[in-house]
């Protein structure tokens, strides 16, 4: 699968997601039209239930919209098969989840290495990148540890390393600082900011964290599944 060029964008058109609870439709997203250019450092904000995580899931192909279309690098996600979507995510999108979601049976090194292995990158290259990435996130010397032997902040660093090691064009981070203390949160944010500046990766966060909002160059506020405001800082 071809990687997204740095100039490509994420485009959503009329994205709607409806969940039905006891026969009553609930609109998690309602007609979202959005364009994100590569290299952006964007935060999706809004109260709980406003649709931030749902939007992240839909633009990454982890979930499908009830209505509307999503293009990633000019490719319409709804036209991709399950395997194509998996390959596309593997090659172009890195995920950082609120709950870290590391693979518990793999060591730190193996967790970070996993995506590169799926992508067929050679062992020597994988090892080199893992070591460099663990150093970048401040986890050098912890490669052989199991996720359960790490603190929450360290696990989130591993998750960030995993998301970025294959140098994807887009990093989607769902509340990345929610489960870590403010000092760790600040460190992680600084690290992501630096990577964005240095590599030009596109970062999209969903967050409640004022620190993340302050750091973001673009703030998209969601309310009741719709875009309430969209501000770009100068």
């Amino acid at each position: 699968m071809e990687q997204i060029e740095k100039t490509d964008v994420i485009v959503t058109e009329g994205v709607t997601k409806v969940y039905t609870t006891d026969g009553i439709p609930v609109y998690a997203l309602n007609g979202i039209d959005l364009t994100i250019e590569s290299g952006e450092f964007t935060a999706l904000v809004g109260p709980s239930g406003s649709g931030k995580t749902t939007l992240l899931n839909i633009i990454s192909g982890l979930d499908s919209p009830t209505e509307g279309k999503v293009w990633l690098a000019g490719k319409l996600l709804s036209e991709m098969s399950g395997n194509e979507l998996s390959d596309f995510r593997r090659d172009n999108i890195g995920f950082v989840f609120q709950a870290y979601n590391l693979i518990p049976v793999l060591t730190v090194e193996e967790n970070v290495e996993y995506i590169m292995l799926l992508a067929g990158i050679l062992k020597t290259e994988r090892h080199k990148r893992v070591i460099a990435m663990l150093e970048a996130v401040g986890l050098d010397g912890m490669a052989d540890r199991q996720p359960t032997q790490l603190s929450g902040g360290q696990q989130q660093r591993v998750a960030i390393a995993r998301a970025m090691v294959s140098e994807p064009a887009i990093i989607l981070a769902d509340e990345p600082t929610a489960n870590v203390d403010s000092k760790t949160g600040a460190d992680l944010l600084e690290m992501m900011h630096r990577l964005n500046t240095e590599t030009g990766m596109t970062f999209i966060f969903s967050t409640h964290d004022p620190m993340v909002m302050e750091s973001a160059r673009r703030l998209i506020t969601l309310r009741d599944g719709q875009i309430d405001s969209d501000e770009t800082k100068q």
Binding site: D63, R89, P104, V105
Partner: protein
């Protein structure tokens, strides 16, 4: 990496892995013992039936088996026997004469089947001497003596030392009658035979029925019963006589063979029942495992693992547990069959199958006892693993990661 994750997942939930493996091990062992005992029983019955009675292969005049007749004889049977003995794999051969007649002891009479045997050959081939339960075996030279079946002795109230008068018809149409001294009582293990059999030395029988140098049947014993078909073909080729029928025991005792096959099919049903129970157990635990790890599969998929890789991950876990279970099951099943092949299971009462009496059931240790359960357990575990594997592969990541 998928294999590595599968191996580690297998040891992650030890209790569940042990439970799954236990279902497979128990199923394997039960199946192995069932096959061992079944093969042992059938092997024992076939061995008794062939080795002690009908032999492994029989040679007759063409059409004799379908329509036995006093006149359908093998002429010059000694030469035929020698040709048979030259075939590789033949252990022994023995000629027989069969004729129906009336037997009388004192004032009691009944229908008898006169069986003329070459005592020395019959002893080597079908252990004739071991059938004598009272008195002595016939002497190796003709001596106008008879051995009668145990039940025939009861019917005729005959005792050792009594004389039995045989009335019949000779091959030349003459009246065949003579008196023989009863020297032994035999038990063949077949009620019908024991009710009618009157064994004479073959030369006495030839004299009585005017069948000099002729026999109705040549019984052949082979060193390995599994090579019967091959040896039958070799004997046919060696004799090269279209007037002779060479038949393996399965043809000679068609109804017995069919009954055995039908009984074995009944065993196959019980095997399927065992495997169904195992499959349900495996399905339950594997499905539970997949449901518990829904979130994990969601994450794997989110980071780029394809549905096919998730599918193989689940199948790999099932196969790893199955391979381990097969190893343990093979050890247990093999050991159980080995012990049962030595000590056996003694029935509270004798059972009869196809006229053969069995007191103890012995298992047979053979490759089938391991191969059939291994294939069955592997197939059933993999087949029942398909459903959870497909379920895991079709997980929607966003939904899966919302589960706890």
């Amino acid at each position: 990496m998928i294999l590595k994750i599968a191996i580690r997942n297998t040891f992650r939930q030890k209790r569940r892995t042990i439970l799954t493996a236990l279902a497979m091990v128990v199923g394997f062992t039960l199946l192995s013992v069932t096959i061992g005992l079944s093969d042992g029983a059938y092997g024992n019955i076939i061995s008794m039936f062939t080795r002690n009675r009908i032999g492994h292969i029989q040679v007759h005049r063409e059409g004799y088996l379908d329509k036995p007749s006093l006149y359908e004889t093998i002429d010059g049977y000694t030469a035929v026997g020698k040709a048979i003995q030259d075939v590789a794999g033949v252990e022994a051969w023995t000629p027989r004469i069969y004729a129906a007649g009336l037997g009388s002891v004192g004032e009691k009479s009944t229908a008898v089947q006169i069986i003329g045997v070459d005592v020395a050959r019959e002893t080597r081939a079908t252990r004739f001497d071991q059938k004598i339960v009272e008195g002595n075996v016939l002497p190796e030279a003709a001596s106008h003596e008879a051995v009668i079946g145990k039940n025939l002795a009861k019917i005729l109230s005959a005792k050792i030392g009594n004389e039995i008068v045989i009335f019949s018809q000779g091959a030349d149409g003459s009246l065949a009658n003579d008196v023989y001294k009863i020297v032994g009582i035999a038990e063949s293990g077949d009620d019908v035979t024991d009710r009618t059999a009157c064994y004479l030395h073959i030369e006495d029988a030839q004299e009585l029925f005017v069948l000099d140098g002729r026999a109705h049947e040549i019984v052949v014993i082979v060193s390995n019963i599994n090579h019967v078909d091959k040896i039958t073909s070799a004997i046919k080729a060696g004799l090269n006589d279209s007037t002779l029928d060479v038949s393996p025991w399965q043809v000679v005792a068609k109804s017995f063979y069919r009954a055995m096959k039908a009984d074995q099919q009944g065993d196959a049903i019980s095997r399927w029942v065992i495997m169904l129970i195992v499959a349900i157990g495996v399905l339950n635990t594997v499905l539970m495992s997949v449901l518990e790890r829904t979130r994990e599969y969601g994450v794997l998929k989110a980071v780029g693992t394809t549905p096919m890789q998730i599918f193989w991950l689940v199948i790999c876990e099932v196969v790893i547990i199955t391979l381990g279970s097969i190893c343990v099951g093979a050890l247990l099943g093999g050991l159980a069959n080995y012990l049962l092949s030595i000590y056996g299971i003694t029935y509270p009462e004798e059972i009869t199958f196809g006229g053969m009496k069995l007191k103890t059931l012995y298992a047979e240790v053979n490759v089938r006892c391991l191969i059939v359960p291994a294939i069955t357990v592997m197939l059933s575990a993999t087949v029942v693993g398909l459903f959870p594997a497909i379920k895991a592969a079709r997980i929607i990541p966003a939904r899966a990661m919302r589960t706890h």
